[in-house]
């Protein structure tokens, strides 16, 4: 291993990946801003937000528009990801394996002091993978329940109408779950975690410092090293 890669960078994320992340920030933000006041409509703060955005009808349309955009982004993401893997241009590095669950256990063992060193992670560590699949799966739940609420009459013609209030409950709780995960998990990992403090900027710049790569994704670093 070389020691002098402190100032060197490697490209980690493509433009498409960075664009998707920026869009998710934007759309997730709009959806939270317009969704949370609908979840707790009787709070003073919610009323203020709704009033500022032009009333409940405007807030609902904003929410639907952002929801449609988010759903399209989700579909585009999957199309590109699956297409990339099938054509052999990209590797399915986000796929979960047994190793990830073992890594999770090993990392916890390391945290409590039962292991000397943390597990060596690949391109994406188990936390990133779990979060990614949480986002994809949660995104599907949100989109599906969201469209049930968007078109309740059509849904009632095809399926039992009880699905509509059930979708409302699911949409509301799933959103809360997503928000809490982003808050305690994602924001900790990219802002406050000792490895990344004060901020991991690689998803914005597309680059990661080589020494960080070696530390956080040693298996990927090794591969890179072998190729060079």
């Amino acid at each position: 291993m070389r020691g002098g890669d402190a100032g060197e960078y490697v490209v980690r994320f493509s433009y498409w990946q960075r664009f998707q992340h920026a869009m998710v920030i934007l759309l997730f933000g709009v959806l939270l801003l317009t969704g949370m006041p609908q979840k707790w409509p009787y709070l003073e703060a919610s009323r203020w937000v709704i009033e500022q955005l032009g009333g409940i009808v405007a807030v609902r349309w904003l929410h639907r528009a952002a929801g449609i955009a988010f759903s399209l982004l989700l579909l585009a993401h999957l199309a590109v990801a699956i297409g990339g893997v099938l054509s052999g241009r990209t590797r399915p590095s986000m796929l979960l394996s047994v190793r990830d669950f073992r890594d999770a256990v090993d990392f916890l063992r390391y945290c409590v002091g039962w292991a000397e060193a943390p597990p060596r992670f690949g391109r994406y560590d188990y936390r990133q993978k779990f979060e990614y699949w949480g986002l994809v799966f949660g995104g599907f739940v949100m989109a599906l329940t969201g469209f049930i609420l968007y078109f309740p009459i059509t849904v009632s013609r095809l399926l039992p109408a009880e699905l509509i209030p059930a979708a409302k409950v699911m949409h509301s709780y799933e959103a809360l779950l997503a928000f809490l995960i982003i808050l305690v998990w994602h924001l900790f990992a990219v802002l406050a975690s000792p490895e990344t403090f004060p901020m991991d900027t690689s998803i914005f710049t597309g680059k990661i410092r080589k020494d960080r790569l070696r530390h956080e994704h040693p298996l990927e670093y090794d591969e890179l090293d072998e190729r060079e």
């Binding site: 390391y110 009459i153 699911m170 799933e174």
Partner: protein
Amino acid sequence: MNGRYALAQVLFIGLLASVALAQKPPDKAPEKVPESVAACLACHDDKQLSMKLKDGSTMSLYVDSQDFVRSVHGSQLVCTDCHARYEQNHPSGATLPSRRAYAIASYETCKKCHFDTYTRTLESVHYELLKSGLDAAPVCTDCHGAHNIQNPHEKRAMVSRSCATCHDDVYRRYARSVHGKALAEGGNQDVPACANCHTHHQIQPPGTTQFRLGSPEICARCHGDRALMAKYGISATVAQTYLADFHGVTASLARGASAPAQQVVVTCIDCHGVHDITSPRLRGAEAMKASVAAVCAKCHAGASPDFPAAWLSHWEPSLRHAPLVYLVQVFYKIFIPFIVIGLVLQVLLHLYRVSLGR
């Protein structure tokens, strides 16, 4: 239906008569009148005393001294407190255009004491009508009486009947409703009379969108009161379940918004009725379902017959009512704390390890 209605009317009139009798116990000795009142009564105690009006009618000038003395003002006011113009040169010999013109010209005397109440009437639909030239629009004395004014908080049914003077059809519908029957037949003081929903003085036209959107709040004043509803075995969550639903949020938020409401949404009155509200328990679940279905269809054209099931009929989700909704709820109530506590624990463990030093 007609027979029952006639019966209700007979009962109602009988009740009126008994109330009227109860108000004037014949064995009660006449009460003393203050000296200054007695001075007026020297003339006005005469049942024949009257004056000719310009419209050709005759207005009686007789005052029943006992009516006045037993009124809420009897022990506090004297005649000239209200009839201030007559302190001097009385009688002046002037004539009045009509009995109604006299009432309209005189009612403002009430504002000398009841100023806040009077100003509220200025924002009412009745004052709008009066201003537009409709003489029949009610002034203070039309609802409260003149010499025989009683405490309106104690005589709620009486005030409601004064509404019936003009709003007879509405009053009759109300009198047949679950609320009206309880008030008129049972003297129930928990049920709303006209003024409880329409307010007392600042009465707004009830046909507006604003009034409609505000109606759930009116119903919720009683139907959200746990103790009151427990008395009648009615669920106190009916208002809450409506307000938590999509339409309830729309109604509530559209009402509070600064911009005028555009959307008409379903509120309590659409399924339960306005003045002719009957107990859903008496109507039965099937009739209520049909009512809800008809209401849904008004806006949601093309909905399937099953569509009203999307509304949980005020039930809180449970295994019995809306099990699917209930199970989704239970799942997340367990799953969210499980995930979030787990993630927080891992973050803390991670920080703990870092604090130990590598």
